[in-house]
């Protein structure tokens, strides 16, 4: 079957199988920031944004994104670079495999929550698992990221 969608603002017309998952669709097109982790909708590694909502691409049919807008980390390179540096400065990155999905959800959270508390940040990101860091360094980095743009910074 044929679908038409926009990935990071670019139009794609592709032929797909009806049961193809969005993660495979994106990776086949070269968007390899989208990582396959648990494949059971638990780890958050495959997070992408579909029409402004963060979703698990391992659990969405590619067929269902017809006419929709998808954003992967490749489309948010500037923002990813900023968060990446903050994470590195806090020593909050080890293997880095969870980072793309984690960053996608952080960026979505920034748009959705206004001045979130630590508890709200932890709750929002509870679907992004990291098995290296213990999350505290990431939390410090996120709080610094959320402060950016305030007071004209």
């Amino acid at each position: 079957m044929q679908i038409k969608c926009y990935i990071n603002g670019r139009l794609f017309n592709e032929d797909i199988e009806p049961d193809m998952l969005l993660i495979d669709f994106l990776r086949n097109l070269g968007f390899t920031s989208v990582k396959r982790g648990c494949d059971t909708a638990n780890c958050g590694l495959c997070t992408v944004v579909v029409n402004e909502k963060a979703v698990l691409s391992c659990s969405v049919l590619a067929a269902s994104i017809n006419e929709k807008h998808i954003t992967t980390l490749e489309g948010l390179e500037d923002e990813a670079k900023i968060i990446g540096e903050l994470i590195a400065n806090e020593g909050a990155d080890q293997c880095g495999f969870c980072s793309p999905g984690f960053l996608m959800n952080v960026i979505t959270m920034k748009k959705e929550l206004e001045n979130p508390t630590d508890e709200e940040i932890k709750h929002y990101l509870s679907g992004n698992l990291c098995r290296c860091t213990g999350y505290m360094g990431q939390l410090r980095a996120i709080k610094k990221y959320l402060e950016l743009g305030k007071d004209g910074e």
Binding site: M1, P18, D19, L21, T40, A41, N42, G44, T47, K53, A54, V55, L56, S59, V60, L61, A63, S64, N66, N105, T108, M109, H123, Y124, L125, S126, G127, N128
Partner: protein, 262 residues
């Protein structure tokens, strides 16, 4: 891994119902989260997402949740959080993560009558109904007891009758399936006690609820907790034994009733 021969985004419920009953291997897709974990070979996958069934609305006497509304919509809906002490939002907020709840639909969870369903437990304790395409509007309690038939759950209707409610669950890890879920409600003088993740599908402890008066004493509450254990069957799975669940039920029912009496 499941497989699907054909994907169809339907234009009407009539079309969806016709396709669903055309072949025993045709299926309504819902949020796909559970469906894709299986290894069934489906013929046609029917997507309802173009039918505008993802809304949460209220009338003077009811709250209506469309079958394609996501668990995240339920968690963040102002309408839903205004009623029933916000228990519907509370019941779903620990399910995996935001991305998961952006995908999972309430229709998928309720129609499938999953044993682990937090939202089914919470809805069962309220004055809830389901609207089915062919089956019409029936009480949720009746729907839960029915065998799964090929029909389409269009929406969930909850009467706004000033019920007080409390939702409690116990989880091994905060984002895991519940080991046990309990929802207690009091509408006027009548109580409902729903127990889910037993690990079987949620059920009402009817006799236990009858032991609770408008303002129950400590003894009444204790008696209701014991009765709940007598009338509800608990089972064993990897998350906990039947004995462990029955001990949890005793505590969670008591806490739920006490919450409402506060």
């Amino acid at each position: 891994m499941f497989s699907l021969k054909e994907y169809i985004s339907v234009k009407s419920l009539e079309e969806a119902y016709g396709l669903l009953n055309q072949n025993k291997n045709n299926v309504i897709l819902g949020g796909l989260l559970w469906l894709k974990m299986g290894n069934k070979n489906y013929n046609k996958g029917i997507d309802l997402s173009q039918l505008g069934l993802d809304t949460i609305t209220e009338t003077e006497s009811e709250v209506e949740i469309g079958c394609m509304a996501t668990l995240r919509q339920i968690e963040t809906s102002q309408i839903i959080n205004n009623y029933f002490d916000g228990i519907l939002g509370k019941s779903v907020k620990n399910i995996v993560g935001v991305q998961f709840r952006n995908c999972a639909t309430v229709g998928g969870s309720v129609y499938s009558r999953f044993g682990f369903s937090d939202i089914l437990t919470a809805l069962l304790a309220l004055d809830s109904y389901v609207e089915l395409y062919k089956g019409g509007i029936i009480p949720l309690e009746q729907f839960v007891a029915m065998p799964i038939k090929k029909d389409i759950l269009i929406k969930i209707i909850i009467k706004k009758d000033g019920c007080r409610a409390s939702y409690k669950s116990h989880r091994i890890a905060s984002t895991d399936f519940p080991v046990l879920a309990v929802c207690v409600s009091r509408c006027s003088a009548s109580w409902k006690v729903a127990i889910g993740a037993r690990p079987n599908k949620a059920t009402l402890a009817i006799n236990a609820a009858k032991l609770l008066s408008q303002n129950p004493t400590k003894d009444d509450i204790g008696a209701a907790c014991v009765e709940a254990l007598n009338e509800v069957k608990f089972g064993t799975n990897l998350r906990g034994s039947a004995e462990y669940r029955s001990q949890l039920a005793k505590v969670l029912v008591r806490r739920g009733v006490e919450d409402i009496c506060k």
